[in-house]
Structure formats: C-alpha cells, structure tokens
Amino acid sequence: MSEAGRWFESDPLWFKHAVFYEIHVRGFFDGNGDGMGDLRGVTEKLDYLDWLGIDCIWLLPMYPSPLRDGGYDIADFYGIHPDYGSVEDFRAFVDAAHQRQIRVIADLVMNHTSSDHPWFQEARSSPDSPKRDWYVWSDTDDRYPDARVIFVDTEPSNWTWDPVAGQYYWHRFFSHQPDLNYENPEVQDEMLRVLRFWLDLGIDGFRLDAVPYLFEQQGTNCENLPQTHAYLRRVRAEVDANYPDRVLLAEANQWPADVVEYFGDGDECHMAFQFPIMPRMFMALRREDATPMYEILERTPSIPENCQWGLFLRNHDELTLEMVTDDERDYMYAEYAKDQRMKLNLGIRRRLAPLLDNGRDEIELMKAILFSLPGSPVLYYGDEIGMGDNVFLGDRDGVRTPMHWTGDRNGGFSSADFAQLYLPPLMDPVYGYQAVNVEAQLRTPTSLLRWIHRFVELRKQHPVFGLGTYEPLQPSNSRIFAHVRRWEEEIVLCVHNLARSAQAVELDLAQFAGLVPEEMFGQTRFPPIGELPYLLTFGARGFYWFRLVEETA
C-alpha cells in the first residue's frame, strides 16, 4: 500500500463489535439442485443474513477434500471443493457479501493436510522426495510420548505406520490427517502463500483451525510451543503489512491462560475462542448456580486492547468438554447426554435447542448471557430458528443437517430428490422442517428468529457489549448472574436468573447511586438507584439488561 493509503481506514477493530455467523456450506442452501449446499446457495441467502444483522460469515472449510473430516482434511489449499462451486463462485460470493457490508472469513487448517493431498502422496513415495520433509516421520512410534491423543474414540496413537513410506507419520487428529512439518521453512513459506491467495481474493480473514499443534518438541506435550507462537507472529506481520482490516481467529481449545498466549502482545491472532466459558454456562443453567461462570471469567486473563474473544454456545463440532475437570465432565454427560449416542470424543454432539429441551426461556436466557459477555458472539447456522439434531447420524453429521428454509419439500433446502440429499433434513414433529423453518418464523412476530433478530440489533446499537469492561457483581443469591459492562459514557447492567423458579436479588449498586436503570428492550425506567441494596425480582429463567442513565436524561 502506498503512503497515501494510510489516510483511508475503514474499521480496523470491526471484529470487536461484530456478530459472527457460522455456515456449513454443504448444509445451508443448494443453489444448483444437486442435493448439496454450495456457494451459489449461500450467495442467494445473503439477503436473509443481511436482515438477520450479522457482520461476518465464517465458512467451514470449502476446499477440495475427501471429506473424511468435514473438509478439515484439505487436499488442495488453492481450490474450492467441486461440490461447492469454483474459485470464481467464491469470489462472486465474497463480492456479493461485501456489497451488503458483510465480511467473510473461512476456516484454514494449517496444522495438517488430508492424506490425499499431493504433497503427502509425494512425500510418502520416497525418502528422497523433496516433499518428504514437509511431514513428520519416524522409524518408531514412541517419540513425543507426552502429547495426548485428541480423538480418543478413533485414534489409538498420534503415530500411524505408512507401509508405502516405510515409516510412521505424526498426526494429532485423524490418521488420515498427517501433520505438516513446520520445522521446514518451505512449509512455513507455502502456508503464507496460501493465506495471500485467499486474501487477494478479498476474504476478510481466517479461523485458524488447530493452531496449538503446529510444532513438535521432545519432552513437551507438543502444544502451545514458542515456535508456534513465533510463526503466528510472522503470519500476523504479513497480514498487517499488506491486508488491513482482516482478522485471524485462533481455534485453541485450551485453558484461558494458554489461550491468551495466542493474542501475543496484540501481534499474533486478533481473536481466539473462549472455549472454557461455554460448558460452564450449560453447567450453571442445570445447577441453577452462576458460580462456575464467575469462576472461569475470573480466571480469564485480560487481553490486549486490539484483541477480542469469540463467544459461542454451539458450533459444528461436539460441545467440547476438554476444558473441564473429570467431575464436571461426568456431570455434563449425566445432564446433557443421557443417550450414549449423544457423546463423541470428550464432548456432546447436540444442537442448542435439544440441549435445552427446546425451552424457549432457556434458549433466550443462554443467548442473553452469551451476548452480555465480553467478546463477539458467533451464531451457528440453524440455531437462530431452534433447529434440532439427529443423533443417529455418525460423527458430527447430526448437527450438520440441511438448514430449514420452508415447510416445503426438503425443507426448502434443495430441489433435488430427497434420496439425493447429502443428509436427510429433520422431519420429526418437534424439530422437523414443517415445524421449525425460516419462512414460518419470519411471519410470526413472536418467533425465536424474530426475537434473535431484535436481539442482534440491540447488541449492535450498543458498542459497550463488544468494547466494554466486565465487572462481576456476584450477589449473595448464587442463582443470579449479574455484571456490569462499561465503555466510555455507557454503563450497562446485565442480570440473569439461572433458576427454574422466580427469584429476588439485592444488588449492591451504591457506586451508581443517583442513576436510573432503563430496561434496554422496552426502554422502561425502573426506580432510581440509591445507597441501599437494589432489589430486583425475576420470573423463572428471566433476565434484565439495563442502561444506567442520568435521572434527567
């Protein structure tokens, strides 16, 4: 960029007050009638997403892939999976999104490739192959013994014997996903080329999948190594130098103290997911006790000014229980995965609505808590209408079924024959597409979809939610989750009742004496705050968000 470029800036911190929306291209909308969602289909639904008010679309991997891991097994970093369209379709999609001021980020798996990737095929073919050193090989399967196995349900070891290569290769995930060897500078350079390729096409950033595992080192658990951070800083420097306004979002399913390392000094990733808060929200709801949330938020270190947490309730993976204690995990399984089929690895493969027994109050409460926390919320496609899941489908397919657009054939997802669909849409009487779909909910002013739309709009009107402080109030009634957000002149008080029963709480708001709480949805004024504890009462699973305003205002 030229000198002159510096005076034109759009919004370098846009991601701090954005609402993200995660899309599984295969499951969103079928634009060509072949039974599978595609990029043309997503483009056709941009008006819907524009209305919903989201700021940024996050696409699950859309690259050529044998799809043994939902596309996280990439076989070509420079292409689009033929099921989804072409690179031209991708460019057209990004342009159409940008015309609506919607940004687009996409998943990028830097850690490994598919075993089908030509690089791996070349590497295994001969020890002398120039690509051999692009992967991690060993004559024995006992190196790096301290590295845990992540996919415990399917993988006995991080090493797999390759009869063609005559050596073991290293993989932190499925055995068909060999890890790239980041010790090799060629691999480092190549991955930067990949980033530039997509950035040049106009993409607004990446969700970097599985970043903690890029490097390996004997005597460590091979996670979060300093070399990994050094490489991420290099990636960031490249982005900052040539591609303003883009974002790197780290997927590092780690404890908060380790995750914050991925922000560096504001010179690594712009964003990282706040993983540990999520299971604790579900736990708090079941136990009707806010303590687990207060605790994890207290243990979450502060992050650099130019960074942000990504918050979510559910996503395309299982509800991960890696970042909880064994006791907590047992509790979660007992409460949320009563059927063995609902468990997967260390997690629960269910969507939001079924997890909450389709309770409207519970869904609203959980969304409210999520939206009230410091960070940018990520919605998972279908959760805005309360879609269900199908636990009889394998792996994580149960939460990746086709989006329900209408009550018509195939839920309006595709004009193909039913038998041609990549997965059957839900058809049960509670969550099936005839009961739960966009068309019907758009028409019904009281629907979940319309509620979420208003909610997104409200959040976006108040940058305090993205930019403000988090100040827990921790009242004596532990069923109440109450905290204050503050940014510039705006003070917001968020109070949530986790209990199934009506509750009262006395909040110590003396520091705000003289201010008046104004409920944010209806702009109703409550009695002014005095020196005495402030009494609030709630219906079951109720919540209030207040702006604290001057009495005269």
Binding site: S2, E3, A4, R6, E44, D47, T406, E439, P445, H453
Partner: protein, 461 residues
C-alpha cells in the same frame, strides 16, 4: 516555468485557519460532533506552474470519538489577495469561487486528463458520444445545496462536487451515465466526471452535466394547482407517471451490465421486508407520545400489523432494479420545454453508499411519489391554509399510476392483482418512516403520515 510543490504546501496549511474554513462550510456534515483536528492529508496537484495554482485537497476531520470524515476540497493558491490561510507566502482559497479554476476543472474533464499520484490516479472522463459545447465563460454558484457544491457555467452546464469521500462509485454518476448513454431524455444529461481510482480508494469526486432551465419543480406546481382550482395537475401527473415508467424501463434494459441487470428477488425478500416493517410498527407504536394528531391511529398498532400481514402475503414482488431511490415531487422539474426532468440520483443521502446502490423494487420510487402527492395536499392546508379540493389526491394518484403502467416494462412489476398490495406495502413503509421523522422534527406534520396510515387501516380488505 517552475513547478510548485502544491501538495507540500497544502499539507502544511495552518490547522486553525483550515479548521475554521472547513467547519463553516455548508457541506461540512458533522456539525454536532466534537472535532479533534482538521488537516490536509493528501493533495492532487492539477495546476502547479501557473498562478493561481490548483489542487484537490483531501481534508480529514478527525473527531474526538476516534472516527473521521474525509472531504474533497479543491483549493487554489495565489501569491496575494484574499484567502483563508497562508503558507510560505501563498494564500489558499476555495477554488470553486474562482472562475478561472472552475474552467480549469471543466477543461480537465473535457480533455480526459489523468493525474497519477502515489498508487492512485485522478481520472477525468467524458461520456462516449456526448458532444461538448463551447468553452464556457460565466460561472455562478448554484446555491441551496447541502452535502454537495455546484456551479453553473453559462447557464448551460453544471459542475457538481461530491464533498464527502466515500469508497465506491456514486450512484448518481452511475445512473446518469447509464441513462445518458441510452439516450433517456428526461434527465440533465451527463457530459463527464472526475474520480479517484486505485489506492487508497475508488471515489467519485465530481460530475459535469447539462443545466436545465426550469420553470418549477413538481412540488411548487402541485401546490400552485391546489391553490388555484385543483384540476390542472392531473395531466402533469399522468405525464410524470409515463416519464417514471420509461425511466425504470431504461434502467432495467441491460442484462449484460451486472450493476444494472434486473434480478429476481430472493425467496425470502418479501417476508424479510414484511418482518422489517412489522418491527418498525412495533417500535413506532410502542412509544407514541400523547398527541391529538395521533389519536386516529393510537392503540391500533396490532391492527396495523394484521393489515400488514394481509398486504404482505405471498405473490410476486416484481423484479429488482436500480432506481432513483429518493423519489418525490421535489426531485422532478417542469422545464421550459413543457416536460419533466428527473433530478438527483444520489439516493437517500443518510444511507451508506453501498446501500444506495442496491437493486430494489421500482415500486419504491412509485410509492415515494404517491406519498409525495399526499404531502402536497396536506402542505396546501398546513402552510397556505388552502384545503385541497375533494378527490384531488385520489385523482392525481390514479393518473400517475395509469401513466406509469403505460410505460413501465410489465415484467418489472407484479401483475394487477398483486400490484396494489405491494404498493400499499411500500407506502406503509414510507409512511412509518415519515411518522418517525415528523415526530422527531416537525410535530405539526405528523397528521400527514397519520392520514396515510389511517387510509390503509380503514380500507376494506
């Protein structure tokens, strides 16, 4: 001749004087924001050897909030004489106030000049096939503008500057160029324009178009008609309908130009529009103040939402096209040639540029004009104490619509059965916007949108 480093000079203009100059301009649009600083961040030299020097300065106004706005400010520099600021013995002044420099700008457009500049380019262009007139001599400001500045040359041409820099093509340039190239007569044709392309942004800076000698604008004519006996405007309304229909047809006529090719609305478009309006009703009616003027509709929000469901029911939305975007009686002129000319293709100025370039149903323009008839009828009694003759608005509407449907490409609008409902939908949307606006700005006028909403409520289904 010696070349003067104009850019260097302008970037060092003393801040205080620059600030005073900028903040006093009509086009300066952020009057309520607290300003942190004002500076020239860049300047494109256009004349750097002959005095007065000329450059387009990019002025940044940075606000306390951290946001900023950029303005397109052509400045002249001369050794002596009056100006608003001094630097190294040069005095800076507003180039639009200097006939010689205005003519220089016109000359640059006509000669299709191009100025390379640090990764970007200032490009002056002319419309293909448009013959240029003689070199103008007299220059006068047009006056009465807000966000733009225009000067009239020899009563033949208008040079219009877009002051606020926004990334992207200005819709006015886009639409005027498209309509001019296709020979649509009812506009002030485009002769040329100036734009910045490349880094750091693509932006339209100015257009050069015909000056149309005017008798009156549509608003004045309608009010005058109402003051007289109220039967002279109907034929004009009919003609206005024809012109509007023809304009939409031309705008939808090129399916090879992606910026203009008509599009089918997405499957959810109608439902999304209805949902949006439904929420507007909820909001506006949720906080209606006590006001006798509001009485006819007070407490009837739910009824209106039911009515909305009825008029928003399934059926076609027609096709989506580029259109005027801010269409009302004030935007159309009755010329000395006794015909209408459509002005101001910028769209709703409060909306961001990308939104103003969206394709939408052309019925939004139609609804805008229909609401404008309603405003004219009310203005007559509110401002001049003249009650509109009974049936005036109804007749004008009918004539306008008849003319419109005669001329518009039928594939663009829904067929007869649905058309009325869609018009009601867009009129309701407009009336809600008006209600919201008038409540905040002109309480006396609240009755105009109230009457519009009431009409819809009381209409037999």
């Amino acid at each position: 001749m010696r070349t003067i480093a104009v850019q260097h000079l302008l970037c060092r203009l003393p801040e205080e004087e620059l600030r005073e100059f900028v903040l006093a301009q009509r086009w300066y649009g952020s009057k309520s924001e607290e300003v942190a600083h004002v500076r020239v961040v860049d300047a494109f030299p256009l004349r750097d050897q002959i005095e007065p020097l000329l450059a387009i300065a990019v002025v940044e106004v940075r606000f306390q909030s951290g946001m900023h706005a950029l303005y397109n400010v052509p400045l002249g520099l001369r050794r002596s004489a009056e100006g608003f600021a001094e630097v190294d013995g040069w005095t800076a002044f507003d180039a639009l106030e200097d006939a010689e420099l205005v003519l220089e700008l016109v000359g640059l457009i006509r000669s299709q000049a191009s100025v390379e500049h640090e990764g970007g380019e200032l490009r002056f262009c002319t419309v293909d096939g448009v013959a240029e007139g003689p070199e103008p001599a007299a220059v006068r400001p047009m006056g009465s503008e807000q966000s733009n500045s225009s000067v009239v040359l020899d009563e033949q041409l208008v040079l219009k500057l877009y002051r606020k820099l926004e990334a992207g093509v200005n819709p006015e340039l886009e639409l005027l160029r498209f309509l001019t190239e296709r020979g649509f007569p009812a506009i002030a044709s485009l002769e040329g324009w100036a734009a910045h392309v490349g880094q750091p942004l693509d932006a339209t800076l100015a257009i050069l178009q015909d000056y149309v000698p005017v008798r009156d604008d549509g608003w004045t004519l309608a009010l005058r008609d109402l003051e007289a006996d109220g039967n002279g405007f109907s034929p004009l309304a009919h003609r206005l309908g024809e012109v509007t229909g023809a304009m939409h047809s031309v705008l939808a006529s090129d399916s090879t130009d992606p910026a203009f090719a008509p599009e089918e609305p997405s499957a959810e478009m109608l439902a999304l529009t209805v949902a949006r309006i439904d929420e507007e009703i909820e909001q506006v009616f949720g906080s209606l103040p006590e006001d006798p003027a509001l009485e006819p509709i007070a407490g009837r929000g739910d009824e209106l939402r039911d009515r909305l469901q009825a008029i928003g029911q399934s059926g076609s939305l027609g096709r989506l096209i580029r259109h005027h975007g801010d269409y009302h009686l004030g935007q159309v002129l009755w010329t000395e040639d006794e015909d209408w000319v459509v002005l101001d293709f910028e769209g709703e100025p409060a909306r961001p540029l990308y939104e103003r370039r969206h394709k939408r149903s052309p019925l939004r323009d139609v609804a805008g004009m229909l609401r404008s008839f309603s405003y004219a009828a009310s203005a007559s009694s509110l401002e001049r104490g003249v009650e509109p003759p009974p049936g005036w608005e109804g007749e004008v509407r009918t004539e306008f619509l008849a003319g419109y449907l005669d001329e518009v490409d039928a594939s663009l609008v829904p067929s007869n059965g649905t058309l009325e409902r869609r018009l009601q939908l867009f009129e309701l949307e407009k009336a809600l916007y008006e209600l919201h606006y008038e409540l905040g700005h002109r309480p006396d006028w609240v009755r105009v949108p109230v009457a519009g909403i009431l009409q819809l409520l009381d209409e037999p289904e």
